[in-house]
């Protein structure tokens, strides 16, 4: 029968029947969590090869874990970036500010001030330390969870909040979902909601920089779940073919909404090890260790800037909170995972390191946290004067039609007139502003 699926199964042979493997995470809601199976190596254990090395020399670095900060809160081994105390305090301050910002914005969404928010709690080092290891004009192509880059680059908080509130102060004109920032001035590419699209784009930017004989490099961030998309594999292929000056950062926070990293292929390999097959340099890094994150990103930046080629970095970390304000992780993972995560919390670890160096103390930390919260609170108030989502203080209706093309074609002109007319029908006497 040509019609209808052919349900022939069991061909009568005596060969053993096959079975499908479907990955399953170790822990589900209610389970006691023991991460004993996660091999985290030891700080200072791995060598630091020359930046121009051949990818084949990085086998251990792609399967092991580059770590610097030990349980003794000290820096260990050749990957210690030996940053001065001021730089470390700046890093800590950026991380604390990001955390305070996330707390407030999350609450703002719950209070109905906007539609959506995403935190990066527990992953701050993967964006902040990494961004600090790049030059300010290196181009970044982030995913939606790298608000830390903007904060590290000194982007005004008020611009971020205006964007989140989609208000009349939003320089993206209220068009994008909250947190989908864009800042050309900060060399921060416009964020897409479509996963992994930014990864080959970063490669293209890096190729352009090479074509022009520029000295700037590109870096991109993508979640481990999103590495399953074809775009990511295009990025790897183009990066290796053109030896592009690019860094592909894979943030392995273990979860992609409700799917654990096994659904992106982590059960039998690492994400960093993907690099080796492509002929890219690959580093697997403790993503909760701010010093290791900085050191790895700087290594890759040096490599790219020396025309020695691209690097894929896997930041091994943990998504401490839900995927977004639309998600409740208690439905699919054990609540204990967060506290049991063997690599701790990045903010605490950096703070404890500074204290161990005699460069910081708990009082100063408490003061810094207070100041961060206060700054976010005050800026939030300031942004609220520009409006919150759905309360009328938005951009004029006609702006909806701008930027579809460089110039408005006739049909968009007509549609803009229609939109403004509808406004006047609904709110007689109102002006479009």
């Amino acid at each position: 029968m040509a019609e209808g699926p052919n349900s022939a199964r069991g061909t009568g042979s005596n060969k053993p029947g096959l079975s499908l493997h479907v990955p399953e995470p170790k822990f589900r809601p209610g389970d006691a969590v023991d991460f004993g199976h996660v091999d985290i190596g030891a700080p200072g254990q791995l060598s630091r090869p020359d930046e121009t090395c051949h990818p084949r020399e990085l086998h251990e670095h792609a399967y092991g874990l580059v770590r610097v900060l030990g349980d003794d809160d000290r820096a260990h081994g050749p990957w210690d970036p030996k940053l001065d105390a001021d730089t470390l305090r700046t890093m800590l301050a950026n991380m604390a500010l990001t955390r305070a910002f996330d707390e407030r914005m999350f609450r703002g969404q719950r209070q109905g001030k906007t539609s959506f928010y995403m935190k990066c709690t527990g992953e701050e080092a993967t964006s902040i330390s990494a961004a600090m290891a790049l030059a300010a004009d290196d181009m970044v192509f982030p995913s939606y969870r790298q608000q830390g880059i903007l904060i590290a680059r000194g982007y005004p908080l008020i611009e971020m909040i205006n964007q989140i509130y989609s208000n009349k102060g939003d320089k993206l004109k209220g068009r994008q979902l909250p947190i989908m920032y864009s800042s050309r001035e900060k060399s921060f590419f416009t964020i897409s909601g479509n996963l992994a699209t930014q990864t080959p784009q970063a490669v293209g930017w890096a190729m352009a920089s090479a074509i022009r004989g520029d000295s700037r490099i590109a870096a991109t961030w993508v979640g481990e779940g999103s590495t399953a998309e074809g775009d990511f594999h295009s990025a790897c292929t183009f990066a290796t073919v053109y030896n592009a000056p690019v860094i592909l950062n894979v943030v392995n926070n273990q979860w992609a909404i409700s799917s654990f990293s096994g659904f992106a292929g982590s059960e039998r390999t690492t994400f960093a090890a993907r690099a080796l097959g492509y002929g890219l340099a690959g580093l697997r890094v403790d993503g909760n260790d701010a010093l290791a994150c900085y050191a790895a990103e700087r290594w890759a930046a040096n490599r790219a800037r020396a025309n020695a080629g691209p690097t894929l970095i896997e930041f091994f970390t943990y998504r401490a909170e839900g995927h977004s304000t639309s998600d409740d992780p208690s439905g699919y993972r054990s609540a204990q995972e967060r506290s049991e995560w063997p690599l701790g919390d990045p903010v605490n670890r950096l703070k404890n390191h500074l204290i161990a160096l005699g460069e910081w103390d708990e009082d100063r930390q408490a003061e810094m946290d207070r100041e961060a919260a206060e700054r976010v609170r005050a800026t939030t108030k300031e942004a609220e004067a520009n409006g919150i989502l759905g309360h009328g203080l938005h951009h004029p209706f006609r702006t909806m039609f701008e930027d579809v093309f460089e110039e408005l074609p006739w049909h968009l002109k007509e549609q803009a007139e229609q939109a403004i007319k509808e406004r006047q029908i609904k709110w007689p006497g109102s002006l479009d502003q």
Partner: protein, 353 residues
Amino acid sequence: MSLAQTDCKPAATGAQGRRINMIEAINEALEIMLARDPDVIVMGEDVGYFGGVFRCTAGLQEKFGKSRVFDTPISECGIVAVAVGMGAYGLRPVPEIQFADYIYPGLDQLISEAARLRYRSAGEFIAPMTVRSPFGGGIFGGQTHSQSPEAIFTHVAGLKTVIPATPHDAKGLLIAAIEDNDPVIFFEPKRIYNGPFNGYYDRPAQAWKNHPDSAVPEGYYKIPLGQARKVTEGEALTVLAYGTMVHVAEAVCREKSVDAEILDLRTLVPLDIAAIEASVEKTGRCLIVHEATRTSGFGAELSALVTERCFYHLEAPVERVTGFDTPYPHSLEWAYFPGPVRIGEALDKILQD
């Protein structure tokens, strides 16, 4: 004027008392088909243990096991492609694409492959898959959680496109789609998953339980693909709509006391052209309503068909009410949405003499 919906209800609706929403209806259809047909496979991002970000597959993995209902890697290309391969083996996959906005990475596998297997192999291989995906706006989802890309698929030879507007239809149409031996794109209007949104966004939201079409029979039933549903009987004009816009158009016609004959198309390809012709020949006027962008939208196809086939019965030019030709904006969502004001104006225009 006649607005009694019950007059036009399909015979299959017989359940008394039981009221379910569209998510539950879809879940039931999947459960029934998984139980009836061992070839049916349900898969997609977050659909397994978690049961889908909109909960449409809740409980199914527990019931049917991990090799019948499972999570997939985040690769829409891969999801569609493995569904093609499973279909070639003889299975009947029902993949979910988490949002219609994310179906594009799978387009080559849908357009060049799934849609053409039967044709290029002269029937040796088919792709009996049903790709489910939530679509449409009205949830402040911004440009990547709001699109209505149905016209991209209706333009492809070899794909069927189905869009339910009620829990009752969602269940019956999904069962028919799964049993269909051709690839079906099954778009679920996410704004009406929980209630029949009527476009008046500043009024309290309605729940399905107060709507007659939330009375959904238990067990197996089908609504054949290619049959429109007459939502209201009327004389003044014909309104062609599908998905969320059926409810919006109905509410606006009721508010304005317009004696409209509203057809819920339910299936865009194959289209119920006979129902459209019969209605337009009776009323002499036709308004087409969809949420998708206007240019090359499905409304253009409908307008052409009505003009070609009913020209001598028309008393006014065919009108289209659509979304604007921009990406779906976030803060100006309701200015974009083809709501009561836009529909009301078009009704006034088409009925003016």
